[in-house]
């Protein structure tokens, strides 16, 4: 299968995206892969497979590679006397801003390029954790109680300590801290404000059970991964989560009852259906007293959560064959014609 992996982006998670792309190159090695890198200035480059190394980008070697632009239906590479079109289905692997906030989705929709990844509306509701809370309320999905703070509005917290402080729109635990008492709050807020003007604060539930479940819809059927119980010390911060970078080993299935697994899947369905079609997503859940709470939605999980699937490559192939089509209005000027003919012109 032909597939183009689109990665990079002007995002705090830019480097994680590079690692994800390198991991997938290995995981999808039987595919006919090509790689398009979006640099922090929003230029696209075609990267040769053998150049897919982290150092290529840190040393700006990519700038010597062919630059691409977009036309309807394809990325194109302009040569001296000709141009080459790259029309493969794209796997959007840009984490964080650009990739998960709907920018890339809108761009690819606009240029009629087929892609695996969240559509614009799905991106909006998963990228900003405030909107995820609203989605939960609308779809009657349980989630952790929360409060909002922003740089424009100072107010006292009514939540009891310990709390967890998160920038509203970042993944990968970036800028997240646990605050045990009031003396630690100020620094934790400043840490989060480095990344976002809006901050979400939730109670930190000690000893909470955390489960991750990934899945996608292909050919009208939901496909679920195994349920993973992520390793955590107190919680995973950015370094711990990504210093063991290319988690590509298959993890062990969490030891949970089939009832709980069914509950997790049911909640996953509620999140996914009529919103995330076309994407492989991972939902992170908390389980408190047998109740399933949605913690967050990762519409482009790190390395596409490949390690949670038995047949990851097969899954990507199935997903690619059942992508939603953006409905586009056809313009035929009927109305103007009818007026013109009524006027006898």
């Amino acid at each position: 299968m032909k597939l183009t992996i689109l990665f990079g982006g002007a995002s705090f998670e830019h480097e994680i995206s590079i690692v994800s792309a390198i991991t997938l190159k290995e995981k999808l090695k039987h595919f006919d892969l090509s790689f398009i890198f979006c640099d922090q200035d929003h230029s696209f480059y075609l990267i040769q497979a053998q150049q897919m190394k982290a150092i290529t980008f840190s040393k700006a070697e990519h700038k010597k590679m062919p630059q691409l632009s977009l036309v309807n239906g394809a990325f194109i590479e302009k040569k001296m006397f000709s141009k080459v079109e790259h029309k493969n289905t794209v796997l959007n692997l840009i984490h964080g801003a650009d990739g998960e906030d709907g920018t890339i989705a809108a761009l690819l929709d606009f240029f009629s390029i087929r892609y695996i990844g969240p559509r614009v509306n799905a991106s909006v509701f998963s990228y900003d954790k405030r909107y995820t809370k609203w989605l939960c309320e609308a779809k009657e999905i349980k989630s952790v109680t929360y409060e909002m703070l922003s740089t424009h509005e100072h107010k006292n917290l009514s939540l009891e300590y310990p709390v967890i402080v998160k920038p509203a729109s970042l993944g990968s635990s970036i800028g997240v801290s646990i605050v045990k008492d009031e003396s630690e709050l100020d620094y934790a807020l400043d840490v989060a404000y480095e990344y976002d003007k809006s901050i979400l604060i939730e109670p930190f539930i000690e000893g909470v059970k955390e489960y991750n479940l990934a899945g996608y819809m292909a050919n009208g059927k939901m496909v679920y991964s195994i349920v993973e119980e992520p390793q955590k010390e107190e919680f995973l911060d950015f370094e711990k989560k990504y210093m063991d970078f290319s988690r590509s080993e298959q993890v062990l299935k969490a030891d949970i009852s089939s009832q709980l697994e069914a509950k997790l899947r049911k909640t996953f369905d509620k999140v996914y259906k009529n919103m995330f079609e076309g994407a492989l997503i991972r939902c992170d859940f908390f389980v408190v007293k047998g109740e399933v709470l949605l913690n967050e939605i990762n519409p482009i999980p790190g390395s596409m959560a490949n390690y949670l699937f038995e047949d990851f490559a097969g899954g990507i192939e199935a997903l690619a064959s059942s992508l939603p089509h953006a409905k586009r209005a056809s313009v035929n000027y009927d109305y103007i014609h009818s007026i013109s003919s009524a006027k006898g012109k």
Binding site: T151, D186, Y187, D190, V191, Y193, E194
Partner: protein, 245 residues
């Protein structure tokens, strides 16, 4: 990392900072040099001095801190001071490298640690003097566009307010201020430093009454390879100020 906004002279400054060992009771403020940033300092010192709350600060206009107007060394000092109030930090020990050394001095900490500090006026070599004279002549003839050929390496990529700041702070003579400092100072220097030569360090040592002078192998950035030993000396210097009073 973290960021805090503050107002100074009708402008907003975003000060980026990072705290290591947040539970420690004694504050250690660490200021970088011109054109550098807190990460370089943190890389060197974060593994050591566990008994101190390390506060690494990006000075306005450097690293991730913002700055939209020209400042003097005094302005920068006041901004750091206001910032310290906001994070409830005290002036127990302040470390400053190069330009940061001048700011550290003006903050008047109990223990001042200078790493190849600026603040002693060094006569410009003849070559530089000629370059300046030539450029000033060219300016008269409307050839100021050639500026990039003349500007100091330290100033090449600066924004306009930062270039103005650079001109404000470079070449200041702080001899009197060093002499007036009443606290305890630890002065560390790189033997082969060309930016702030060794004799400048010796002079500062002679000016500050209660000071210790340590010379290390290395250049202006000698502390990168000597952080462990310097940290030990900082701890000892701080301990020597306790007790007996």
């Amino acid at each position: 990392m973290a960021i805090k906004s503050l107002q100074y002279k009708q402008s907003t400054f975003g000060i980026s900072y990072e705290i290591v060992n947040p539970e420690a009771k004694v504050d250690l403020i660490i200021l970088h040099g011109w054109g550098s940033n807190k990460n370089l300092m943190k890389q060197s010192f974060a593994p050591y001095m566990k008994g101190f709350r390390h506060i690494y600060i990006d000075l306005p206009g450097f690293g991730k801190s913002t700055c939209c107007k020209a400042l003097t060394t005094e302005d920068i000092t006041r901004i750091v001071e206001m910032f310290m109030v906001l994070i409830n930090a005290s002036k127990d020990v302040i470390v400053g490298h190069s330009f940061g050394g001048k700011v550290a001095l003006l903050l008047e900490p109990k223990v001042l640690v200078l790493l190849s500090s600026a603040g002693i006026y060094i006569n410009k070599p003849l070559k530089i003097k000629l370059k300046i004279a030539l450029f000033k002549t060219l300016k008269v003839f409307g050839l100021a566009k050639l500026r990039s050929l003349f500007v100091a390496q330290d100033a090449k990529t600066l924004s306009e307010p930062m270039y103005q700041t650079f001109k404000n702070v470079v070449d200041e003579n702080y001899s009197d201020k060093f002499a007036a400092y009443q606290g305890k100072a630890l002065i560390c220097w790189g033997r082969d430093d060309t930016a702030t030569p060794l004799f400048a360090g010796e002079l500062i040592h002679s000016l500050i009454e209660n000071s210790i002078f340590e010379v290390y192998y290395g250049d202006h950035y000698f502390f990168l390879k000597n952080a462990k030993d310097i940290s030990k000396k900082i701890e000892n210097t701080f301990l020597s100020t306790l007790g007996g009073e």
